[in-house]
Symmetry: C2
Subunit: 292 residues, 2 copies
C-alpha cells in the first residue's frame, strides 16, 4: 500500500521502517533531518500536500497539537493533497478537543480520520511493541489495523468518537503521574520515618499497592537513577492537556493538578530533563530532606 509518513523523529522513524520492511511503499516530505535509512526506503516528496497526493493512507507522528494543525492545514499541507476516500491516521499525542475539530475538517474532504496515540516510547517503537489507543469510525479503524499490527501490540479501538484515542492517552498519563506521586509520597514517608524504602517496596509488591510504577519507577527512586526514560517536561505537556481539557469540560482533577505542580518544583530545581520518577525530589525537598 502507498503510505505517507510525516514526522520521522525518535518515534516515527522506527515506526515507518517497520511499515517499509513489511513491503509498503513510503512517501515522506523532504526534510534535511531525514535519516539515511529512511532515504534508502522512501520516496521523498517536496511537501506534505504531495505526500498526501501519492498516498492512500497518511500517518502523522509529530510533537504537539500546533504541529498537527500546521501539517494538516498549513500551506502545502496534507489537506491540499487529500482526495475522497483516503485515510488520515494521527499517531501524535495531542489535544482531544482539537482532534475533534481536525477530524471534522478532514471528514469534510471525504476522508477518514483515526486518532491513535501510542505509549511505550522509543523502546516500544523500535520493537514494534507500542500500545496503540485508537478513536474513530470502525471501518476506518479496520483499515488502519493491519498497519497498527506492524508497529504495536495491545491495540485497542477505544471508541467511534474522534478523539477517543487521545482521551485514553491522557487517561494513561494521568494514572502514570499519580501512581508516581503515590510511590513518591509513600517511600519518602517511610524514609523520613527511618525505614528502608527498598524493604518497604519489597513488602508492598505482593499486595494491593502493587503497580508497574512500584515495580519500575520506585526502583529508580531508590537507586537514584533519574536519567530518562520519559522526561518531566514531556509529562508536563501531557498533564497540561489533561488539565486544560478538564477545565474546558467543567471538571476538577485535583491530584493531577498537584502532580503537575510537583513536576514544576523539580523543574524549578533544574530537573525538567530528568525522568518523571524524579518527582520524588519535590516531595523530598518539601520534607527538608537532602535530594541526592
Amino acid at each position: 500500500m502507498n503510505i505517507g509518513f510525516i514526522g520521522l523523529g525518535i518515534m516515527g522513524r522506527p515506526m515507518a521502517l517497520h511499515l517499509a520492511a513489511a513491503g509498503h511503499t513510503l512517501f515522506v516530505p523532504d526534510r534535511r533531518s531525514l535519516s539515511e535509512d529512511i532515504r534508502a526506503v522512501a520516496t521523498i516528496e517536496a511537501d506534505a500536500a504531495s505526500v498526501a497526493e501519492h498516498a492512500d493512507i497518511v500517518i502523522l507522528m509529530v510533537p504537539d497539537t500546533p504541529d498537527v494543525e500546521t501539517v494538516l492545514f498549513g500551506a502545502h499541507g496534507v489537506a491540499e493533497g487529500l482526495s475522497r476516500g483516503k485515510l488520515l491516521i494521527d499517531m501524535s499525542s495531542i489535544s482531544p478537543t482539537a482532534t475533534k475539530d481536525f477530524a471534522a475538517r478532514i471528514a469534510a474532504l471525504g476522508c477518514g480520520y483515526i486518532d491513535a496515540p501510542v505509549s511505550g516510547g522509543e523502546v516500544g517503537a523500535k520493537a514494534a511493541a507500542l500500545t496503540i489507543m485508537a478513536g474513530g469510525a470502525t471501518t476506518d479503524f479496520e483499515r488502519a489495523l493491519p498497519l497498527f499490527q506492524l508497529m504495536g501490540k495491545n491495540i485497542t479501538h477505544v471508541g467511534e468518537a474522534p478523539g477517543a484515542g487521545q482521551v485514553c492517552k491522557v487517561a494513561n498519563q494521568i494514572i502514570v503521574a499519580l501512581n508516581i506521586q503515590a510511590v513518591a509520597e509513600a517511600l519518602t514517608f517511610a524514609r523520613k520515618a527511618g525505614a528502608d524504602p527498598a524493604r518497604v517496596r519489597q513488602a508492598l509488591m505482593g499486595g494491593f499497592a502493587n503497580s508497574r510504577i512500584l515495580e519500575v519507577h520506585a526502583e529508580r527512586m531508590i537507586n537514584r537513577t533519574f536519567a530518562p526514560g520519559f522526561r518531566i517536561k514531556l509529562h508536563q505537556k501531557d498533564l497540561n492537556l489533561a488539565l486544560s481539557s478538564a477545565k474546558d469540560m467543567g471538571m476538577a482533577l485535583p491530584n493531577t493538578a498537584i502532580a503537575q505542580q510537583m513536576f514544576s518544583v523539580v523543574t524549578a530545581a533544574g530537573g525538567a530533563d530528568l525522568d518523571h520518577s524524579a518527582l520524588v525530589q519535590a516531595i523530598e525537598l518539601m520534607a527538608g530532606m537532602a535530594v541526592g
Copy 2:
C-alpha cells in the same frame, strides 16, 4: 507453644484459629463476644494480665492505637502479666510513633516487641494469606516468624526499628488510596469526554498505568459495585495516621491530603461504609455528573 491472643474479631478470629489448628495452646481474655469455635479451642482467662501470665508470646489484633494502649497498659492489662523474656506481637494497624513508645515500655519489662500489621483483609485472614509487615529486633522477628507463616504469605522484616512495620502499612495505605484516586480521575475524565471507561481500562492494562487497583477497583467503579471490600471510614483512619505522622515528622503529603478530602466528600454524601473505590463518586460529584 503457649500463645495469648487478644482481639478476636473479624481478622483476629481466623488468625487465632490457624494457630490453634497447628497445635499451639491458645489463651484468650473472657469476652461475651467470643465465638463458639474460639471457646472450643482456647483457654479463657479472666483478663489480659492473666493471658500474659500464661503465654510465652502475646498477639494483639485490635482496632486502633487507644485500644492497644488500653490492652497493654490499662488496669489488668498485658503489662501486669508479662515477665522477662516474653514476646509481644502487635498485629493491629496503629500509629508508628505510638508504637515506638509502646515498644520501649514493653522492652523496659525485659520483653521483646514486634509490630506486624497486615494487609489482605478478612479474605486473607481466613486463607492464611495475609501480607505481614514486621518491625523490631531480628531475634524477636525470628521467634515470631513460625507463627506468621501460619497466618500469612509475603512476610517482610521491614526493619529493626520498632514501628517499621507500622510505617510500611501506612505507606501501603497511601499508595492504595492514591492509586484509587488516579484511576478515579482518569476514568471520570474519559467518561466526561464521552469515551467508554471499560474500553479505556482495557487499553491501559497492558502498559505503565497498570496496577492491582486498575485491575480490581477500576472494575468496581465501572460496574458500580461499591459494597465493601474495605470501607472508606477505615481507609480514612489509616490516612489520618499518615497525615498526622507526616505533620509530626515535618513533611507534606499533598496528594494523600487531597485523597482524604475526597473520601470526606463521599462520607458527606452518606458513603462512609462504601468500598474505598467509591472515591470516584467525589470526582463525579465535583464534575456535575450523576453518581449512580
